[in-house]
Amino acid sequence: MEHIRLPKVEHVKLLDRVSARKSRVGTLYLTATHTIFVESEDGVRSETWHSSSSSSSSSSSSSSSSSSSGVSLMVHCKNFQLLQFMVPEEQDCQDILLSLQRLSQPESYEELYCFAYKPNVAEEERQREWNFMDLRSEYKRMGLPNTNWKLSFANQDYKVSDTYPSEVFAPESATLPVIVGSSKFRSRGRFPTLSYYNRDNHAAVCRSSQPLSGFSARCLEDEQMLGAVLRSNPRSEVLYVVDTRPKLNAIANRAAGKGYENEDNYSNIKFQFMGIENIHVMRNSQQKMLEVCEQRSPSMSDFLEGLENSGWLKHIKAILDAAVFIAKAVSEEGVSVLVHCSDGWDRTSQVCSVSSVLLDPYYRTLKGFMVLIEKDWIYFGHKFSHRCNHLDGDPKEVSPVIDQFLECVWQLTEQFPCSFEFNERFLITIHHHIYSCQFGNFIGNNQKEREHLGIHTRTHSLWSYLWTNRADFINPLYRPNHSQTQGVLRPSTAPYCFKFWRGLYNRFERGVHPRQSVEDCLRTIREETEQLEEQLASHKQVKVLGYPTAWIFTPDIRLANTPQDYTSCFLTSSPRPAGGSPVTPQDLNQTSSFNSNGSDQESGIADLSVQSPFSEDSARDSDEAANSAA
């Protein structure tokens, strides 16, 4: 590979961010798709495939800085892992850095891992993987087509909108000229079409892009189109049009000949802004939040202030608020809703999919959730490759829109622990693979691109992988007949209901997670229960020999449970820069003098790993000395 300047570097140290003692020394290998670190200690080979997915997309940024013991290389991964290597030679480090920078920003789709990923699977089997997901049967599940909604071929060969799927559902009364006319009045030709149909009361969630209304433009076909959408819900006399943007943004768009619907021009619509910020605000917000997560030992105030200043949870709340509004309109008022933002592939996807999760228990199952992502994100042209920075491209196109969707769902699982068939690991795994490029599902920006790239003929599908491994992703508290499972979810969106998602953003900081997992315990118990049920059912001579309660996680704790750095390095059990010798008065003096130059004593309490409480003692002693001298 011409991009790899240095395929192998020895004596590289992989630092543990929490505990310096746990650093490991080994050899770093660069391949076209992975960065591999092989530990070389005591003849034991332990391999760590970092950013196990492709480095070609995972290391989004790396930087280096030198110090006495080598040059430090920081690798920020897209799955929020932070790797710090110490490379002995500066030139080597520079070569790795340049190689990684190039490898993590491929210039063409062909370089992505999914085209190189060839597990030992027969071609027939690979094809079946893609057949696992079938959106037609999803629409059938919703009860479509029916007298109100029909399958429209207006976008066959992508001639009306190249970012839409070729088959969409349109109101029965919308004729081809109306659809085509309406699409000409919408950004990127993304005309109003069906996202979710509530078969109980015929109310629907529809989606589109913004109208090209400018200051006064009208379009008869577009008005007819909305009329058709309204008519497709026979029991309702009104249609909500939800513009997910802040009003100011929408007004600003008018100057560019775009904008929003004028209530006077459309009959029986009610128009509403939602105030979700644009991709640039979201990108900066996540960046700020990640900086907070990456602080080494933040105080509580640092953390909460940082979280507030990032604005991240505010944005999550805005999305959930919008979804709650739509779910309520559809389920309680029986009113159909048309959702759009600017282009209708970011905020619109978020809001449509989150409201679908609220509305339909099916989307809270493993299979249903995959269907939902396939439908509202992949099918309707969320620009995964641009937003997730799969290729070297415009950094302004990058935005964590899908992260926010996954987080909204996670927030809901926290409020409704029994309502979801899947667990947190499922969401995190999906997140991981959206960025890993190991599977073809999220490659490209729309259906047309994916067809052109031959995704279905050349790559593997994540969905069938997840389904095959579904045992790992089951929430043990889920029961299909549980009251919480059924019906519409009505979450609270009071600010205190939103939590920081430690499981995703601090996924690799092992120290901050609970040391015992209720979910794992319950899963084990349920597995054991199933075995017991089988035994009872089969009336077999029971071979059970005193079932051990297998759900004790003692060994687990033993491994994971060590003290954090509650204090500075003065305790021998805390990491010490050199050796583990017992503390001597000389050590004490060294620590004191080290800390006396202006270290903040109050924050020293929080910044446990750096500061010594003895700095205060020494300050006091010097005070006393000064007093006695005076």
């Binding site: 507030e308 409704f416 600010p495 209720v518 759900w551 003290p563 954090q564 059990s573 446990l608 005070d623």
Partner: protein, 549 residues
């Protein structure tokens, strides 16, 4: 009965009660000496029985002749009573105000309460220092039980019996007591069986500005050190605060006089700061109209989570010194009755598996809080809605419970009790029909005659039906030290207390029930399988055909 004078209007009809997440109830309001009762006189409707002592503050509002009383409780609940008639409303309000702020402890409800349940085990006799000492004796002979404080003459806030190093005689203890704040000479708090290290607690040394020293004090704490070993003194105050304490006669152990000890200063806040923090936190939690920014900024400004982190960190440090460093530890702050107890009791939760059982935790609360002289009466006399500024109230115990909850969240299988037990202790510390948390120290309890005149909370808790409710179904005893994370990401807001009345807990409760169900079903199947197995074994012995295949 003097309560009668305070109750001008004992009952009002047509009162409407508004409670969070419950339908409104219309009924008759009755005031008794100790309770506010609302009864709809209909079957199947829940009645309200509220202890006057649970009322933290009330507000009156009038619209025409309809008055409303907003009752703010110490358990943080807020209820509203609509009372027809201005006079009735005023009378009720002034009665509640008077009855909820009775000066005399002996008029409190525990002195009038008669248990409606069978007392199987008298909680007043369950945890005696002498019994605790027997356990200690089985592990070491380096300590003795001293009755130097038997008439509370040495230290008002200590129990009559305390554990001290064997080689230190009572005379020495008397001298040390004069050198320690409140007479609180160093006593044994915890003995770490694994390596024989100990944790002691005390009041601050009274060194003053002149740097007074006390040879006996030095002798006492040095007596706990193994030859050639060093110990750690954890001062819960910052060095500045400790320094300032000298001016008021207090101080800390200087390096010169205690060369075998290394002093570590931490920064656990004093009680009035904690009270302010609680008030701010609850205010933030109760305002449902906040934007996200405002909520996070108020949460941060309350500093509550900072206190939790600080207290936990200090406790972890003490535990680390003992378990990992193999060193003995002396903990003190100023009085040694607040932050000191938070640290010593939490360190035991971390180190000692026994304190993570239901009974062990009761024992811990008894030893490290009640007998150790945490002034519950003054600290818990008001909660988050108080507007009196007596500066004595402080949620010191609540913070301790919060820290325990944090560890429980991180080690959900290592505690025999569940969150409900912690919430129950919080409620009873502030208002209770039981005498356990009355008074400020052992001397008070004797003076008030609590043992004779009131019922112990433990008598009520240690019954099958209560224990069932408080038992953590996931509990599996483990003998390990459990090291919690103190990273801000790991510390959560204790929703079960602070958001309890602000959001519906229905779905979370259902999840808990589901968990219980899963575990119980598993146990049921296990026992079925075991029964079948036994039957099979029996058949095999009875039927020779089965024996020889």
């Amino acid at each position: 009965m003097e309560f009668a004078e305070l109750i001008k209007t004992p009952r009002v009809d047509g009162v409407v009660l508004h409670r969070p997440f419950l339908p409104t109830v219309e009924g008759t309001l009755c005031l008794t000496g100790h309770h506010l009762i609302l009864s709809s006189r209909q079957d199947n409707t829940e009645e309200l029985w509220l202890l006057h002592s649970n009322i933290d503050a009330i507000e009156k509002r009038f619209v025409g002749s309809l008055g409303s009383i907003i009752v703010k409780c110490k358990d943080l609940r807020i209820i509203k009573l609509d009372i027809p008639g201005m006079d009735e409303c005023l009378n009720i309000a002034s009665s509640i105000e008077a009855l909820s702020t009775l000066d005399s402890v002996s008029l409190m409800y525990p002195f009038f309460y008669r248990p409606m349940f069978e007392v199987i085990e008298d909680g007043w006799n369950t945890f005696r220092p002498a019994d605790a000492f027997k356990d200690l004796e089985s592990m070491t002979d380096e300590w003795r039980l001293s009755d130097v404080n038997k008439d509370f003459s040495i230290c008002l806030s200590y129990a009559p019996l305390v554990a001290v190093p064997k080689d230190i005689d009572d005379e020495t203890l008397r001298k040390v007591a004069t050198f320690r704040h409140g007479g609180r000479f160093p006593v044994l708090s915890y003995y770490h069986k694994k390596n024989g290290m100990v944790m002691m607690r005390a009041g601050q040394p009274l060194t003053g500005t002149s740097g007074r020293r006390c040879k006996e004090d030095e002798k006492l704490i040095n007596a706990t050190l193994r030859p050639g070993k060093r110990g750690y003194i954890i001062d819960t105050r910052t060095v500045n605060v400790a320094q300032q304490a000298k001016a008021k006669g207090g101080g800390f152990e200087s390096e010169a006089n205690y060369p075998q000890w290394r002093r570590i200063h931490k920064a656990i806040e004093r009680s009035n700061v904690l009270q302010e923090s609680l008030i701010k936190l609850v205010e933030a939690c109760n305002d449902q109209t906040h934007s996200m920014d405002r909520w996070l900024s108020k949460l941060e400004a309350s500093n509550w989570q900072t206190h939790v982190k600080e207290i936990l960190t200090t406790a972890c440090l003490a535990a680390q010194c003992i378990d990992r460093e193999g060193a003995s530890v002396l903990v003190h702050g100023t009085e040694g009755t607040d932050s000191t107890l938070q640290v010593t009791s939490l360190a035991q939760i971390i180190l000692d598996p026994a304190s993570r059982t239901i009974r062990g935790f009761q024992n811990l609360v008894e030893r490290e809080w009640l007998q150790a002289g945490h002034p519950f009466q003054v600290r818990c006399s008001q909660s988050a809605y108080s507007n009196t500024k007596s500066r004595q109230e402080a949620p010191v115990f609540l913070l301790f419970l919060d820290c325990v909850w944090q560890i429980l969240r991180q080690f959900p299988c290592s505690f025999e009790f569940n969150e409900s037990f912690l919430v129950l202790l919080f409620e009873h510390a502030y208002a209770s029909q039981f005498g356990t948390f009355l008074g400020n120290c052992a001397a008070d309890r004797v003076k008030l005659g609590l043992l004779e005149k009131t019922v112990s909370l433990w008598s009520w808790v240690n019954r099958q039906q209560e224990l069932e409710r408080l038992t953590n179904p996931l509990y599996e005893a483990n003998s390990l030290v459990i090291w919690p994370s103190v990273a801000p990401q790991s510390l959560l807001l204790w929703e079960g207390v602070f958001l309890r009345w602000n959001r519906s807990s229905k779905c979370l409760d259902e999840a808990y029930e589901e968990m219980v169900h899963i575990i119980e079903y598993n146990k049921e199947l296990q026992s079925k399988v075991n029964t079948l197995r036994r039957q099979l074994a029996q058949l095999e012995t009875e039927d020779p055909l089965l024996q020889s295949p």
